[in-house]
Amino acid sequence: MNQHHQSDKDIQLELQQVNAAKENPRHFNVLYEKYFKSIYVFIYRRTNNEELTADITSHVFLKALINIKKYKYKGVPFSGWLFRIAFNEVNMYFRKNKTNRIVSIEQSGILQIAQEAEMTDNTEALQSMTNALKKLDSDDIHLIELRFFEKRSFAEVGEIIGITENNAKVKIYRIIDKLKRLMKM
């Protein structure tokens, strides 16, 4: 179980909170309080700018509140839906403004990738892995960030990107293979 995991009881409680917010937007306050920090941190990791993060976070919650009536539970928890909005908003911002998106590399994440790739975890190998990461395209980087730097489950990665859990798993293992090949080059 990871830090983002929700039990069935949590999901049911959250559904009640979502339904209350659908009835009266003021009740969205509970969900806003609950997810503000995690959405802010999610965006900050990709912008490294507090004011810009505040702006995008505000857009995310506004979009969520405007569209909350469209949210129906189909296996994707509300948090997954919210993170998907945040993910799309961040991508839209960088595409529109043609500025560099930040990728916050976590050493623990690099170590985990090295373990998954069945590599030795000496400093040289880890540096080589970091260099190989920089050669990946942005779609691959998204998956690496969500899975290894933010420690999300395959199901959550799928929810955020908009693909199935299995598809997320397959894509991530293909990226690890790609990283291995890039390291040998």
């Binding site: 976070t57 506004l62 991508n91 942005s138 980087i141």
Partner: protein
């Protein structure tokens, strides 16, 4: 999903010295009342918004009025011309 479908070439900048934000730094940007205000502004029905506050509607109305003015002016000029021609013919 949009991001995954479009094989984009986003410019990326890799950072390893990640600064952790404190709860105070994050909470200072939290403002539910502002969100509610933005929500009300975004969902307010068009007929409840004063015309001068909605630039798009204001411009459309202005354009329609301008077109009507031009049409009326054209018709009046044509009528005047016909009247002048009729008077000249009678003379």
């Amino acid at each position: 999903m949009i991001a995954m479908k479009n094989k984009q070439k986003d410019a990326l900048k890799f950072k390893t010295d990640n600064k952790q934000l404190s709860d105070e730094q994050i909470d200072k940007h939290k403002n539910f009342n502002k969100l509610m205000h933005e929500y009300q502004a975004a969902t307010k029905p068009l007929y409840k918004t004063p015309l001068y506050k909605n630039k798009k509607v204001f411009l459309v109305v202005l354009l329609i009025l301008l077109i009507i003015f031009v049409i009326i002016e054209t018709i009046q000029t044509e009528e005047n011309n016909t009247a002048i021609q009729n008077t000249e013919q009678k003379k």
